[in-house]
């Protein structure tokens, strides 16, 4: 039996891994991996086009793939190729996610059952969308669901347009077929046109036709410089990492001063023409020249850019999510049959998931050169990581599956939350000046986030206590005592970390703007966690709460922690906005209600408890 169970576990793990390890489809013949690795400067750092494609798609479509009209599945970089090089085709891809299309009041848009719409579907409604956008509340926190949807759609269309024109000028798609020729004729026109312009200025006879053509280019490129989203052209070597890159429009205008077009612009034109002509050989040839240039220009950065693409493709968090589910199922079954074998298998899968979780965390740290928690997304990843660490530790000591199951539960939930938080775009963004302090990020933020981990883990253990006590006959007094001890210990840990973290935050605030404590929502939230721990601990020491009371308090701690972590972000302080219409608010409420329900379970009279522990209660 043992062997069968272990082989089954191994098989399931391999199945999960296998789904993510499939090699990228290369059937088209284009070197997609190479293209995905081309660097751009976005949000203050250099990253691969792959990240840009994924983040843009997440913002627009809330997922990392595109399903075309003919049922083909495109990876983000394939979609990006279409968007920037074959816009006429990209416009037919349904990438705009509209949650409630019928609420928008756009006549003829809504198609039953359809949630993703293409640029062409939306084309007849541009005027209306833009007009409605101008009518809504300019303060984002005060917008209702309808207004948010309009704003999202309007901003999405603008983002789509701006990313599309990152690699080529604005105009008919056919213009892209002669892109390199266009640049060449612009360059050859430059000297003569400047001479003619000087003549015009001096009042001499000049070639009006030539000047007009040239000014036509100029106007076009000015428009492009205002539109193009991505800075794809680095300044000429040697390159200072703090220097601004140029978008294509800026570069084409720079030419008027420098007289030379960056080879990067020429290469992108070549790639565009080859891709449109379906000429994979030329595409790959041009690409490999461009990549060689990149390697020569950025010897220090290319490794990181390459790694970021691999990290994107490996999706460690997605795999960890599935493995956590597997762990949870294994442990639940282990409580019914084969506890030792299944428990052991579950523990090792938990370790594997934890290793992937850790790899993801470390990879983000390497890419960003920052401590692990820099924004809400990374805090979610880290809260889960901390809780899994605690759970694996307890499981190692107690070997009863409770620590492992709850670790898997919290790990899974927090990674799901992180997944949804990632929809807003780049999760590896730069820090604003006031937050830009690796010292405080590494101390205050880490410690306080570990406090969240401990609070949620204690709460999860308490929920396990209640369900085991209610349902499981063999849950006896000594098991209850041991579990209470765990909740108590983790709460002590949470108290220490929350307190030290909160106070370090105060010191940071004192260093930054001279106020140790300002009673702002985030600070208050952190303080509430500290107080919650203090209540639980004092209630236990004073004998005011017994096992079930402690469990109820620990579950209440879940609500307080969720409030501190997310709830405070919903409030529009001083704006008269409570965030009721935010989808985050609904989730908050649902979570709080579920926890209150668990607390109510804790107080079900003991005669209804099936466990030995419950029966022994007065």
């Amino acid at each position: 039996m043992k062997k069968i169970i272990y082989s089954l576990a191994a098989l399931l793990v391999l199945l999960v891994l296998g789904r993510y390890m499939r090699p990228a489809t290369q059937e088209s013949g284009y070197d997609l991996a190479g293209f995905a690795e081309l660097p751009v400067q976005v949000g203050g750092r250099i990253k691969p086009l792959d990240s840009v494609a994924r983040n843009t798609l997440l913002v627009l479509a809330a997922r990392q793939k595109v399903e075309t009209l003919d049922g083909q599945i495109l990876s983000p970089i394939e979609w990006f190729l279409d968007l920037t090089m074959r816009p006429e085709r990209a416009d037919t891809h349904p990438v705009f996610k509209i949650e409630f299309p019928d609420d928008l009041g756009l006549d003829g848009l809504y198609q039953p059952g359809k949630r993703h719409y293409s640029f062409n579907d939306l084309r007849p409604h541009f005027e209306t969308i833009n007009q409605r956008f101008r009518e809504i509340d300019p303060e984002p926190k005060k917008r209702d669901a309808y207004q948010r949807q309009i704003a999202e759609l309007n901003n999405g269309l603008s983002l789509y347009h701006r990313v599309m024109h990152s690699l080529h000028p604005i105009g008919e798609p056919q213009r892209l077929d002669q892109l390199a020729d266009e640049y060449r004729s612009y360059l050859s026109l430059l000297q003569p046109a400047m001479a003619e312009l000087r003549k015009q200025k001096d009042g001499e006879n000049y070639d009006a036709e030539l000047v007009k053509t040239f000014l036509g280019f100029g106007e076009d490129y000015i428009r492009l410089s205002q539109t193009a989203q991505l800075r794809i052209i680095p300044p000429p070597a040697p390159i200072d990492p703090m220097e601004d890159w140029f978008n294509l429009g800026d570069e084409l205008l720079n030419v008027i001063q420098t007289g030379q077009l960056s080879p990067y612009a020429m290469s992108y034109a070549g790639l565009t023409m080859a891709y449109r002509a379906g000429d994979a050989t030329t595409f790959n040839q041009t690409l490999s020249e461009l990549l060689q240039r990149v390697t020569a220009d950025f010897p220090d950065d290319i490794g990181r850019v390459h790694f970021e693409r691999l990290f994107n493709a490996s999706q460690p968090f997605a795999i960890a999510i599935e493995l956590y589910v597997l762990v949870f199922i294994f442990i639940c079954i282990s409580w019914l049959r084969w506890p030792a074998t299944l428990g052991k298998a579950a523990f090792w899968i938990l370790c594997l998931a934890f290793a992937l979780h850790t790899f993801g965390l470390a990879a983000r740290m390497y890419i960003q050169e920052r401590p692990p928690v820099t924004n809400l997304y990374s805090s979610a990843v880290f809260v889960g990581w901390g809780a899994v660490l605690l759970g694996a530790f307890l499981e190692k000591f107690h070997r009863n599956g409770i620590g492992g199951a709850m670790a898997a539960l919290v790990g899974f939930s927090t990674l799901i939350i992180a997944h949804h938080l990632a929809m807003t775009g780049d999760t590896l963004e730069m820090m604003r000046a006031v937050l830009d302090s690796n010292f405080w990020l590494a101390t205050h933020v880490i410690i306080i986030t570990l406090g969240y981990s401990a609070m949620f883990f204690a709460g999860a253990l308490a929920i396990a206590f209640i369900f085991l006590g209610l349902l499981r006959r063999s849950f006896d007094k000594s098991a209850a005592r041991s579990l209470t001890g765990m909740v108590y210990g983790i709460t002590c840990f949470a108290a220490l970390f929350s307190l030290v973290g909160t106070i370090l935050g105060g010191i940071w605030a004192d260093q930054s703007w001279g106020r140790f404590w300002g009673w702002d929502p985030k600070e208050n939230g952190a303080l509430m966690i500290v107080i919650m721990c203090a209540i639980t601990l004092h209630a236990r020491w004073g004998g005011i709460a017994r096992e079930r009371g402690i469990m109820a308090l620990a579950i209440l701690g879940n609500i307080v922690t969720a409030w501190s972590w997310f709830g405070t972000n919903l409030l529009g302080v001083g704006l008269h906005s409570y965030g009721f219409t935010d989808s985050g608010f609904l989730w908050m409420c649902a979570f709080a209600l579920s926890q209150l329900l668990c607390i109510a379970f804790a107080y079900i009279p003991s005669r209804y408890w099936r466990s030995e522990f419950g029966q022994s209660q007065p």
Partner: protein, 390 residues
């Protein structure tokens, strides 16, 4: 009797009740910030003895439920009761044991923290100083508070400022103006108002800008949002003995951009104004250079810093410093922080804080952190000794 009372005040039950009360207070003191902003809520909830939360009109069924109020103890009440609770518990249960050293450290730290927060509430002063590049400033001001001032500009080398804080400008009251023979009678005081030009003659003012430009004030509800600046406005009558010298419309928006309003007495002229409260210092700060760096290719600020030099009457105290994020200048009992800058980046805005108790939280933190580490460390070692990994 006394023993019973001490038992109640020193009990863990009271501790738990107070902790729970503080949690409720903090929760409502957080959500009410949506209505009143941080600054005002802090006064209502945490720097008070009692407070009542009112059901917000914006909540579901808000129009029917605004009568609903939840009274609760404010920060001062809870803080004092906690101090009493801790002190009584200490005196009743104190015993010097190694196993309890951590607990004493934690709770002493907590007492220190409560005291330091009270000191900060009472003593700390925050204001902002704007210094133009290559220019100097010798005062800071706060846009949250206002003052009524009479300025005597007749001295050749300095001006004399007679100031009354706006907090005590209560309608109907008559106040002595410090160091003068004059008195100010407050006809109206509006924390926020809109100034409009009108031909309507109902304005009580009979001097200055109100009569010259036909301006009157329409009271408005104060705006509590973070960046809002309220237009504090008042109608003030100045009395010399019992004789009225006139009534002026004063507002903090009628600043240097407008011609000064003047009170004439037999002896001298005074400029009269209602302005943001100023704090003057015996030294000047000169801004040598302001720098503002952004991440490449973005508008996200990466760093901003001010290079300043101080000019003190005692030259030995002059000092040059670079003020930037997380690196304030501590000087003459004040601390200068990089707060902001003017939109054209030619002037820096420094946050100036005077807080004599600023070091106390650091001690308290040290006590609490070490105490907890010690106490829970003991528990943890016991746990590890009891259980070896299976």
């Amino acid at each position: 009797m006394l023993t019973a009372l001490l038992q109640i005040f020193g009990s863990l039950r009271l501790t738990v009740i107070l902790l729970s009360a503080s949690m409720v207070l903090i929760f409502f003191g957080t959500i009410d910030q949506v209505e009143y902003g941080i600054w005002h809520t802090q006064k209502l909830y945490f720097e008070s003895f009692v407070v009542a939360w009112q059901y917000p009109a914006l909540w579901p069924a808000g129009d029917q439920l605004t009568w609903l109020r939840i009274p609760m103890f404010g920060g001062y009440t809870i803080g004092s009761l906690m101090l009493i609770n801790l002190t009584v518990a200490y005196t009743r249960r104190f015993s010097l044991k190694a196993a309890k050293i951590g607990l004493y450290a934690i709770h002493s730290g907590l007492m220190l923290l409560i005291v330091s927060e009270l000191l900060t509430d009472l003593l700390a002063v925050e204001s902002q100083m704007t210094v133009p590049e290559n220019g100097r400033a010798n005062y800071s001001q706060t846009v949250r508070e206002n003052e009524l001032v009479l300025i005597d500009r007749s001295h050749p080398d300095h001006d004399q400022v007679h100031a009354i804080p706006a907090e005590i400008l209560k309608p109907g009251h008559t106040l002595d103006i410090p160091d003068t023979s004059l008195r100010a009678r407050v006809l109206h005081f509006y924390p926020n108002a809109q100034l409009v030009r009108t031909s309507d003659a109902s304005s009580p003012a009979n001097r200055g800008v109100a009569t010259k430009m036909g301006v009157t004030a329409i009271p408005r509800a104060p705006d509590y949002s973070e960046k809002a600046i309220n237009t504090a406005t008042a109608y003030i009558e100045i009395l010399d003995g019992d004789a009225s010298l006139g009534t002026w419309l004063l507002a903090n928006v009628l600043d240097e951009r407008f011609p000064p309003q003047t009170v004439q007495t037999y002896e001298r002229d005074y400029e009269i104004a209602l302005r943001f409260q100023r704090h003057y210092y015996p030294f000047e700060i000169e801004l040598l250079d302001f720098a503002h760096d952004k991440y490449p290719g973005t508008d996200i600020p990466f760093n901003f810093s001010s290079k300043v030099i101080t000019h003190h009457p005692e030259p030995a105290k002059n000092q040059q410093a670079l003020i930037y994020m997380n690196h304030p200048l501590r000087y003459e009992g004040l601390t200068f922080y990089q707060a902001s800058f003017s939109p054209d980046e030619t002037a820096t805005i420094l946050q100036v804080v005077r807080n004599p108790g600023w070091l106390l939280p650091y001690f308290s933190v040290l006590l609490m952190g070490l105490g907890m580490t010690y106490q829970f460390g003991l528990h943890f070692i016991k746990y590890l000794n009891k259980r070896k990994p299976a």
